[in-house]
């Protein structure tokens, strides 16, 4: 049996497969449908300092090979997370990465500081890349300076591994990756969603309440993979590969391109046990191909 263990920026993962932020909420709902103890970990839906109601409906629409969402970071807020959600998460037999966001550098910093009080958090994933808090998708991760400012502030306030979650909606993602690594990020995760849109041609109105949304799912996989490959050549911190991963083959593509771990997102909506099936498939691939250590596959692309 191949060894799937990964050390991800100091976080020991039994295997490289996590569930992506916003696609497993805070874990509870999936408990009857998947076995968390089989996963590398899960990433919580983004927590902001204050509770957020999110965007007006319609929030979701299917597109060719993918879907648009404009949830708008609906979440119970930091205090409710610390008080309620965490109790459940702390009991899971898997690594829990907490995903945080804010509307100013200070909000990020305060959130990170408050979470220092919770033992057991594996790492913080810093969502500087949500495209759905204002129409059009602008955010901290579109400029190196703002991205770096957030990461530096979070880093000052936290002793945990800091994973900067990057947006694909940029000219050169390696520039942003380098900026956050220079600012102290212990790892990067990519990609968040691509800004997209859909229109109802009969009513001549946008389908989503927020006008634009974020594109995810298999449709975006080629874009995500190219970005992971480029970032792997640009920085030396570990990379969490995200974007359209639904099968073990998808996950292996990211790992070969340079990702040390991967996240399964939209696929959870189609198959709530997708993460575990990806783990099983990676195991089978390694065993069939005589790969003893999954880690040896990371960045093994021959160009």
């Amino acid at each position: 049996m191949a060894d799937l263990k990964v050390d991800f920026a100091g976080v020991p993962l039994q295997n490289p497969v996590l569930l992506a932020s916003g696609t497993c909420n805070y874990g509870q709902e999936l408990l009857p449908l998947t076995d968390f103890s089989r996963l590398g970990g899960l990433v919580t839906k983004t927590i902001t300092p204050e509770p957020r109601g999110g965007n007006p409906p319609q929030r979701i629409i299917e597109t060719a090979g993918g879907m648009l969402n404009a949830i708008g970071l609906q979440n119970p807020g930091l205090e409710d997370f610390v008080g309620e959600k965490w109790a459940f998460l702390a009991g899971l037999q898997t690594q829990v990465v907490v995903n945080i966001a804010g509307f100013s550098v200070d909000e990020f910093a305060l959130t990170a500081a408050r979470l220092e009080e919770l033992p057991g958090i594996a790492a913080l994933e810093v969502n500087i890349s949500c495209p759905n808090v204002e129409a059009g998708g602008d955010n901290f991760a579109t400029r190196p300076e703002t991205a770096a400012a957030v990461i530096a502030a979070v880093k000052r306030n936290s002793r945990r591994p800091i994973i900067a979650k990057l947006t694909p909606n940029v000219t050169d993602i390696t520039e942003i990756a380098r900026a956050v690594v220079d600012a102290g990020a212990d790892a990067v995760s990519l990609i968040n969603t691509l800004v997209g849109m859909a229109i109802d041609v009969n009513s001549q109105r946008p389908i989503l309440g927020n006008i634009t949304g974020g594109l995810s799912g298999p449709a975006v996989k080629p874009v995500a993979l190219a970005m992971v490959w480029k970032v792997a050549q640009a920085v030396s911190v570990p990379i969490m590969g995200i974007g359209g991963i639904a099968t073990a083959r998808d996950a292996l593509e990211f790992i070969i391109a340079g990702a040390s771990a991967v996240q399964v997102g939209t696929a959870n909506f189609v198959n709530p046990n997708a993460g575990v099936e990806v783990v099983d498939g990676i195991q089978a691939h390694c065993d069939e191909h005589g790969i003893d250590q999954l880690a040896s596959l990371v960045g093994s692309l021959q160009t």
Binding site: T23, L30, L33, P57, M67, I71
Partner: protein, 269 residues
């Protein structure tokens, strides 16, 4: 709730572009309550990507099947309509809450429009078995879009129909029929599922007449199990829970519903 691998036992057109699929689903059949739904993966090839949420329309506990009744109106329902007997699909369920029972002996009135009729059929048949008097009001665009009598009969002692064009039943809206019911020997409880505008109108009529009303809401869904937070419905401010918390402004239809007390829903829009 599990993701049950179900086999298609039958899948036939029962009205114009309305299909009834019978699925061998012993786990779900043993547990599904009226108003609950399932989320079915109609394709493993990636198109359509997402599952289709459909209300449970009937169950046979002994035989271990459930039936879903659906209109072919887009990619997912179209693919489903072409699936033949013997095919297996993943079917997640039972999902959501269900209808809350009426007070003992209550006269009940069920209002269904278009693809909102299926949950009413299951609910009506259960109410009848529990000896509640049931009146079923059904609205549809025209005769072709009305379900045949034999499907409706088990669900109610009285069935009244309305069609937009008068081609079957009373000409006009199903809310006209409800108005007549409320004006006469008013029901003690109304249950409703249909297009958003119809549900809003039904909720308003019931509020005026002070008759309790439950609505089964729909919104575009991805997961059906509460993890995507996509199926949002805005709730009345006083129903939103803890003061000052914006989090509960929107409910998730798939787990907080699909059935809501009509007074909890913020209908404006």
């Amino acid at each position: 709730m599990i993701d049950e691998q179900v086999e298609v036992l039958a899948n036939d057109e029962v009205a114009e572009e309305f299909y009834m699929a019978r699925l061998q689903a012993p786990y779900i059949a043993a547990r599904a309550k009226p108003g609950q739904f399932v989320n079915i993966q109609v394709s493993t090839g990636g198109a359509p990507l997402l599952r289709i949420p459909l209300s449970v329309c009937a169950i046979d506990l002994d035989a271990g099947w459930i039936e879903v009744l659906y209109e072919n109106l887009g990619p997912k329902s179209e693919v489903l309509s072409r699936i033949g007997r013997g095919v297996s699909m993943a079917c997640l369920g039972p999902l959501g809450n269900g209808f809350a029972p009426p007070p003992a002996g209550a006269r009940t009135c069920l209002v269904g429009g278009g693809i909102g009729v299926p949950p009413m059929l299951y609910w009506g048949s259960v109410l009848q078995r529990q000896n509640y008097p049931v009146t079923l009001l059904v609205g549809a665009r025209n005769k072709g879009k009305h379900l045949p009598d034999e499907l409706l009969a088990p669900a109610a002692s009285v069935v009244r129909r309305a069609s937009d064009d008068g081609s079957l039943g009373q000409a006009g809206l199903v809310t006209d029929l409800l108005q007549e019911e409320l004006a006469g020997d008013a029901p003690h409880a109304v249950y409703c599922c249909g297009p958003h505008g119809m549900m809003r109108a039904v909720a308003a009529l019931c509020r005026e007449s002070a008759v309790p009303c439950q609505v089964s809401l729909e919104e575009y869904m991805a997961c059906g199990i509460g993890i995507c937070v996509g199926c949002a419905v805005e709730l009345q401010p006083d129903e939103q829970g803890a003061a000052g918390s914006d989090y509960t402004r929107y409910g998730r239809i798939c787990v907080d519903g699909p059935v809501f007390d009509a007074r909890r829903v913020k209908w404006e829009d």
